[in-house]
Symmetry: C2
Subunit: 192 residues, 2 copies
Amino acid sequence: MGRLRKAERQNKLRDKLKENPFLVDKELAEMFEVSIQTIRLDRMELGIPEVRKRTKMVAKQAYSKVKSVQSGEIIGELVDIELDQNGLSILEVTEELCLEKTKIMRGHHIFAQANSLAVAIIDTDVALTGSADVRYNRPVYIGERLKAKARVDKAKENKFYVNVETKASEDIVFRGEFIIFSVDDDPDRKEV
Amino acid sequence: MGRLRKAERQNKLRDKLKENPFLVDKELAEMFEVSIQTIRLDRMELGIPEVRKRTKMVAKQAYSKVKSVQSGEIIGELVDIELDQNGLSILEVTEELCLEKTKIMRGHHIFAQANSLAVAIIDTDVALTGSADVRYNRPVYIGERLKAKARVDKAKENKFYVNVETKASEDIVFRGEFIIFSVDDDPDRKEV
DNA sequence: AAGAAAATTAGTACCTGGTCTTAATATAAG
DNA sequence: CTTATATTAAGACCAGGTACTAATTTTCTT
């Protein structure tokens, strides 16, 4: 890597750790061809904690993020629900939901919040999306707070027509009509 | 918690750590009212690593997951593209894209692949989804491989009509009509 | 109840990846 | 050359363990 002077090394150090927070001081020292103590001084000056704390931060953050953002059953936070009738979900627009360049939220995340809410309000073991018809009215930016309101308009056998309206402040930014199918494989539950 | 016998304690230990992998042996010892050595023996028998390794596993897993599933610019792998004309994207259906229970892929991920492909083929700095009309034809299961094909049907000024068809093996599982707007850093763009 | 087996607890040496502190050396700037 | 800045070194200490040995307690069996 060739030896760098302090300021430049510290910048690269910050970048390296952002890219890979699991590097230990020894590895960093070898990368930058300086002593381990220099790396520690650099971390101190930059306010970067040790590898175990960094790892823990990533883990904790990701743990809750993974839960709430993607692999949890709901995208966003379910704040109110009346099964088979309506529901409300709130989602903070964070950086990772946006296009890097413009800080505009990516459309499929807005869709995901609405879709998972539409699925969640159906009182059944398994609900699948059959179709969706959606409109995006204006871009949503990082830092905004999306309130998605879902309402079941019509239910016919295992077919639910769910309307979702998503607002940022007072603007309607998104509207969707979902058709959700309930697939109930629990024989003890009353057939709908 | 009241003292339990071995087998039961080990089960609860496993559950506790699944729920919260950040607990250290000392905390566990207090919870179960046994000595720290007992906890360590239990972990050994259950093949559960120490807290730092657990933390690291959570961090690494979540780190790559967050990267690949949500924050990358494209959902799926772009294998072919002709700007403003058509494109092909491939996505492996992995566990984290599915409902835990049924191993059926969640609808918004199918949407995300199609939507991000539709956006990607538009040759502009920023492309935003204006609307979408989509149909899901059959459930997609873990292990399948989704091929999404997008085609620009019509383009009018900054408005692109993009058709996406997603197949698993030879079945069409999803179809969508997207209207995408290109936004070429126009300072006159109406304020929001 | 006695004896064996299983489970639990105790204690010690050692490990990684640090922190915190003091001090010596190297390099650059005035 | 001298001072200031940067770098390296060295040592004591810490958390949260592993690995191992050994003692003690509880439980089961005969």
